[in-house]
């Protein structure tokens, strides 16, 4: 039995098996696009330990530590080791610029399943310009360390106005290749969670996103079958709240870190109450979908709309997102030969 099968079974059996904890809002970088840096607090060590114990009792197996930047948390080493000794399979989300020697030794001995590393520039100049900090060399030093010590890591970046040229030139891909790992792209920036939408200045247009997508050889193979088979019957499958939970730096549990309109205090509520709340919240999210303008749209499997995105975009969980519609149209125009001919 493999991890993917456990995840699928958990979803079918409605059992919680995956969780993420945002252990801090603090970050050592000041990235132009970041949607969550208006308030900066750590989740207290004792609260994190209580959360980990509760997740253990709930049967969670896959645990992600996120932030902010996790390595800014003064107790992260202790927290990580505690969770490892409880037998969680751990993923760390990080910018990998702030890892102490002591922490490196711990990661070397007790390897995480994955470190997912955000990269915001392909050289020192680009990195400083976007993050406001001169940490590019530290990042490279730590990537070297991970590679040398066979610590599994992947790189990811957000497509922004500033990274557009490097992305279209595949410079990020080249960086990942140098470390024998993968690079993934998140093409869409959302407004700040505090409703200050300044980060949207960095959002690419739908046309620019597709311009980047079409430079990748596998894009046609990915999008064409989806476009060919798209119909209003296609279903968006999501296990948020059923097999997964996300806990923020104030100890509030949500079905997903992006679904911010609905939450429950994870520390003070009983596990049964939390499970009940998460399932209700999941069904509410599904209701938002079936009552949304997007439910009957042929293109919904191409735009990847969801209620959490709609709320982040304009605080209305059932509304369509113009930007997503434009993106779907651009993808159909670029990759959807069969779709175009069969729908004329």
């Amino acid at each position: 039995m493999e991890h993917q099968i456990i995840r699928e079974r958990a979803l079918n059996e409605k059992k919680l098996v995956t969780a993420s904890i945002e252990i801090t809002e603090k970050c050592n970088l000041s990235c132009k696009h970041c949607y969550c840096h208006s308030q900066r607090e750590d989740l207290a060590y004792n609260d994190i330990i209580t959360i980990i114990d509760k997740l253990y009792d709930l049967g969670v197996f896959y645990l992600t530590f996120s932030g902010g930047e996790v390595f800014t948390h003064p107790d992260f080493g202790k927290i990580y080791l505690y969770a490892k000794r409880k037998g969680f399979i751990i993923t760390i989300l990080s910018n990998a610029t702030l890892i102490s020697n002591k922490m490196k030794e711990m990661l070397k001995k007790y390897k995480p399943e994955l470190i997912s590393i955000s990269v915001y520039g392909i050289d020192e100049q680009e990195y400083i310009y976007f993050t406001g900090k001169n940490s590019y060399n530290k990042l490279k030093e730590n990537l070297d360390f991970f590679k040398e010590n066979q610590i599994n890591f992947r790189l990811k970046t957000v497509l922004t106005k500033d990274s557009y040229q490097s992305a279209i030139n595949h410079d990020y891909e080249k960086l990942a290749n140098k470390y024998d790992t993968d690079m993934t792209y998140d093409p869409i920036i959302f407004g700040n969670k505090d409703r200050n939408n300044t980060s949207l200045n960095q959002r690419l247009t739908a046309k620019e996103i597709v311009n980047i997508e079409k430079t990748f050889s596998d894009s046609l193979g990915y999008w064409q079958p989806r476009i060919s088979s798209c119909s209003s019957e296609s279903c968006i499958k999501c296990g948020s709240g059923i097999s997964s939970v996300s806990i923020d730096s104030k100890g509030i549990a949500r079905i997903c870190s992006l679904y911010i309109q609905d939450g429950i205090d994870f520390l003070s509520n009983k596990n049964e109450e939390i499970i009940h709340f998460l399932q209700q919240s999941h069904y509410q999210m599904q209701n938002n979908f079936t009552q949304s303008q997007c439910y009957k749209c042929n293109k919904k499997s191409i735009c990847k709309w969801c209620s959490a995105y709609a709320y982040l975009e304009h605080q209305q969980p059932q509304n369509s997102i113009d930007f997503f519609c434009q993106l779907a149209d651009e993808r159909i125009k670029e990759f959807g030969y069969e779709y175009k001919t069969s729908h004329v």
């Binding site: 991890h3 098996v17 007790y110 390897k111």
Partner: protein, 73 residues
């Protein structure tokens, strides 16, 4: 040797995890119970299975040693 192995029951699966390299091994319930008790309360294990401390160690080493190469994860 024993510190790196942790037992978890996930869904209806009995799993032993090597926390140094994340290898997971599916085992039967008896093996799971033996290793769990070995780690959590060795005195009780010795009493329950009527073993000496050395015999318990040997058995645990044998079980954990046999796991190598059997992971599908």
């Amino acid at each position: 040797m024993f510190e790196k192995y942790v037992t978890r029951k996930i869904l209806d699966l009995f799993i032993i995890i090597n926390i140094e390299n994340n290898q997971c091994y599916e085992v039967n319930e008896d093996t799971y119970n033996f290793i769990t008790l070995f780690k959590e309360d060795k005195k009780l294990l010795i009493q329950k299975y009527q073993l000496s401390s050395n015999e318990a160690d040997k058995l645990a080493i044998e079980i954990l040693g046999e796991l190598n190469g059997t992971s599908n994860y």
